[in-house]
Every structure is written in C-alpha cells, then in structure tokens.
Amino acid sequence: MTEPTATDTDTDTDTDTGLTVEELPRPGRFGRFGGRYVPEPLVPALEQLDEARQKAAVDPEFQAELARLHATYTGRPSIITEVPRFAAHCGGARVVLKREDLNHTGSHKINNVLAQALITKRMGKTRIIAETGAGQHGVATATAAALMGLECTVYMGKVDTERQALNVARMKILGAEVVAVEHGSATLKDAINEALRDWVTNVRTTHYAIGTVTGPHPFPEMVRDFHAVIGEEARAQVLELTGRLPDAVVACVGGGSNAMGIFHRFVPDEGVRLIGVEAGGEGVESGRHAARFAADATPGVLHGAMSYLMQDDDGQTVESHSISAGLDYPSVGPEHSFLRDTGRAEYRYATDEQVMEAFALLCRTEGIIPALESAHALVGAMQVGRELGPDGLVLVNLSGRGDKDMHTAAAWFGLAPEGTQ
C-alpha cells in the first residue's frame, strides 16, 4: 500500500508527481492538460493529421465543402426551441434548447465526423475507425463512411452493444463492421483501447476518428473546432430571439465534445456562465459514477492526454458508471480540466435518478425525447434556472435524441413487457 496521503493527492500533486514541468505552455496543451502520450508509431500519423487539419482550416475549398454538407446533409443550422412548459419546472427562468438532436443521425456527433472524413480522404487514407459509447459517434462515423466511400470499423464495449442495440443495428445497416470489445469494463474506455490498437497496426491506410475532445494532440483542439459551429449558431440565435446573451450555457460532459462545441464561442463572454454536467451515476458516494470533477479524480494520463482521471492509488484507471453509455468514461477532455481549474467553467453532476426524471419531464411537457446524455444537461438547467429565478435565461445544448434509449427508459419506468430487461 502507498502511504495515507495518496488518498489526498489533490493537494500534493504538484510537488509529489512533479507536474510543474507539464505546466509550461506548449503546443497541444491547455495549461498543463492535454499533450501527446502515445506510442511512437502513431506520432507520424498525428503530425500528418495536424498538418492536414491546419491546412483545411484555411482552405476555402474545404470550408465550402464542409458548409455544403452541413447545409444539405446534416441539416444545419440546427434550430433553437424555447421550452416554456419545461421552464416552469426551472424556477421560471427562460430555457432555450439548441436542437443538435435534429441533426442527421440524431446528435451533434455528425459535425465532427463529416469534417474528419473529409480530412481522411485528403490524407489519402481509405479506412476510418471509431470508438463509440452510446453508439451516436459510431452511427455518425458509419454514415460519413457510407457517404464518402470509406471502409469503416467501429469499436464498442460489449456492455454498450447490449444497452444500445438499436445503434449497433444502424451501424451494421450502414455497412460498418462493429467489434464488441470484451476486455476490461467492456465500455467506452475499452473501446478506445481497442481502436488505438487497430490504429497502431493499420495507421498507413487508416484514420482514427476520435469522437470526443480527448486523445492526443491535435484531437482535443480539432474536434472542438469542428463542433464550434454549435455555439456560433446558438449565440446568434439566442441574441436574435431574446436580444441578449444567456446567463448560463449548460451541456452534459462525458468526453465533452458537445459541451466544448457550445462553450467555445462563449468563452470570451465573461458574463455567461459555462456549466458542464457530469454523470453522477448512482451517486458520487456510491463510487459508481463518472463525476470526475466532483469526486477525487486527479490529473493523470489516459488515451494520450493528461486530464482529470478516475484512478486508484497506483494510477490504475477506475471504472466509471452511468446510465448513459455516452458519459460512461473515467477521464474528460483536457480543455474541460483547464476551464475547470481556471474557473471559467463550472461543473456539477446529475444522478441517474435525476436524469430519468428530467428526461420524462421534457418528454411530457414539450414532446421532445432527449438522449439520456442530454438529459443530464436538463437536470443542470433545472437547478441553474431555480438559482437564477424568473429573470434568468438558460441555453441548453440538447446534444442528441433519445430513440436509442427507449429500451433503458422502458425498463426504468416499468414499461417493458415481462421477460425483457
């Protein structure tokens, strides 16, 4: 056993783990977070990707092609919807939803994937692989691969293939190979491990389209930039609707891509609170959760990036838990760790029980079925709305739709026929 102080690493991290060097400003870092902790064989691919995405960012042809796809395929701009009947349960504050659930494939994930698929082709690669938790990123990747004629393999934890069976079927119908990963906790983190192994082996022909704002540089920055359209649109739409900026922008945070997407444009708006909602699972005290910031997570390295990480006294990853597969991840995008430590963003968590309540509430008051991931943000909106009162204005990123979660919801609410889950 390590000595007792190991349970209190928050206070001695800087001296004991020697992280001071990590705090030096470097490319691919958000303060001391981020970086590129990968096997050497992947370094050339990351350098190639970084070059390709930087060229694409200033290439009018790439930008025009992506804009055309978003306008004619994704369905951008996504609308905003004010939800007064739901807002009645939020202390009377005005609540506006950014409807990423209405995008093609049913979530924000398509924003990032279409852009990465275009870059895959520009790099001359013919195969795209992805990890997926809830299946939303996997479906989006399978969709982009079908659209652009790329070979596609999606890695998914076996536990998740069972609770998100609908999305597994969608990926297969779209022509992707779905590999159920049985190692470890058989959830999102293990799917990423397996995708990284595939990538190391096939990197010459294959691009790994990471689905969230984590992983080695340039992924956290690149994926954020591909989702920044969410915040760009939403900011203008809210201004047009209400004549002012929101008091708070609320989003769920697993890896944190939808949150970074909607936060990014608001970061310079100092009066706008940025609020991320993590998965509280069965409660932080139960140990079965994915509330990295609320619990005793400390900085560590997983999947190529330094960020807050649920880990034991030895630095072994601790398994996370959430009713929503998409938030069931023991680490978090490094820029969130930076925003949290600098105080620019605040993070809270919602338990499975609170989430199911908010999920049902939105369904019944507004006729909108949210993804369970997005329902975490709704819990945050209910809390923040009550704190702000009737003068408050809350913008919520409704990152996905809930069709995929019907099985879980039916079981939770006792609507499933006898003999099913």
Binding site: M1, T2, T9, D16, T17, G18, L19, V21, E22, G35, R36, Y37, V38, P39, E40, P41, V43, P44, A45, H183, G184, K189, D190, N193, L196, R197, V200, T201, N202, V203, R204, T298, G300, V301, L302, H303, G304, L309, Q311, D314, G315, Q316, T317
Partner: protein, 273 residues
Amino acid sequence: MTTTTTAEGFADVVARCRAEGRAALVGYLPVGFPSVEGSLEAMRVLVEAGCDVVEVGAPYSDPVIDGPVNQDAMAAALAAGTRVDDVFTAVEAVREAGAVPLVMTYWNLVLHRGVERFAADLAAAGGAGLITPDLIPDEAEDWLAASDRHGLDRVFLVAPSSTPERLVKVTTACRGFVYAASTMGVTGARTSVDADARGLVERVRGVTDLPVCIGLGVSTRAQAAEIAGYADGVIVGSALVRTLGGDGELSQRLEALRTLTAELAQGVREGHR
C-alpha cells in the same frame, strides 16, 4: 551466465554479448502473473535459462500497445491485487538472480507515483532503467531529468513509421539501447518478423551508436537467430507469457518456460553477424 557486479547495466550486457559474438536475449514477463510469487519464480527461470535482461512488466489497466495475451495476463495480475510496489520486488529478484532488470511501464503509473519517486525506488531496487511504450521524448522532460539524477537507462521506441527526424529525436533521448518495434502493431507472436525490422535497424544505426534491440512478434529460436544477425538484442514477450499461462501445474509451465527460453538463448547465439 551469472555476474558478480550488481551494478551491471545494459551497455555492459551488450559489450559482453559482443565479445561472445552474439546478441543479447531480453525476456518480458508481467509482474503478478500468475501471482506475484509465481512471476518472480518465472523471472528467475528466464535468467537461469539464458536471458541477459529481464523486461519487468508493470501491469496496467489500459495497455494500448499490448495484444490479447499480454492484456489478459495484466488483467489477471491486477485482479489478483498486484501493486506497483510489487514491480520493485521483482526488480530486486531479477538483480539477485544475476540479470539486468529493466521495467516496462505505461506512463501513468510513473506519473501517479511521482516521476522522481519512481526513479528513486527503481534505482534503489537495482533497476537499470525504464522502457516507456506510451511516452515519447517530447513529453518526457521530467523523466529525462530524473533518469539523469539516478543514472537510469531510458528506452524509447522507434517504429517502421518513424521519420528520419523522429529517429534522431528519439535516439538522442535514449540511453542504454533503442527499442525498435519490428512491425506496426501491438505485442503478440507473429509467424514472420516483418522485413521492416532489418531496414529499421539500418536506419537507426545511421543516426546513433546506441545498441538496437528488436521487439514485437518474436517467438521462435529461428526468428531469434535471424534477428541476432543484425540487431544487438532480441526481445521476446508474449510467447513467454503464453507459455507461462498455458495448461497444467505451475511447475510444468515453468519447465516449459525454461525450455522455450533456452531455445531462444540458442537462437541469439546462432545469428551470423
């Protein structure tokens, strides 16, 4: 096979092997598989049967450059309660048995213990250094400093995909030897070791005088002999792990491990350089 000096490092091993006209044999096993005591016993068998260096594997929850055999062994070790402290116990055991212990570890285990503390503990246990599969020199400032302070070897990986610029950057940061991944992929036995391996060793020799060892995919005497023809060391991992994890009583599996190791030790003596 045994040495009298406890301070022998990898450079001494290579010098000795060169004098004997052969390559060094490096054997990998994870600590805690099938148990902590069982793994120490297995490492002693490796030394007795001809390994010059034992690559002491720290079991880790998310080993992204390991194939299924090593993954399963690490998962079993962790499930049985193996701790990072046990890695240092294994290092001591290997040193006592007369071979050079190098620790192979994923970076978060070092980071979490504290880079300085890990280095100090490793040096105190008699370890020669670290092989770090998911740490590239670009992110290794703390480790470069700590390894200097404690006189530890630091072994980074190069791969067939490495560009000339990366080869210079990585080999400049290495001390002890350069770990050349024979092929693009994860650990695991392969029927043929990629032709990339020979070309990679040539490219590495073009930028450094450090010894070069080949790992990933080596499992047989014939492969060891082939690689011994152009590399300074042959690293064998999952083939040993698979043998140790085979059927039968532990004593039988240890004998099988001894037989395989002895064959590989023959192999590194058959390479014509």
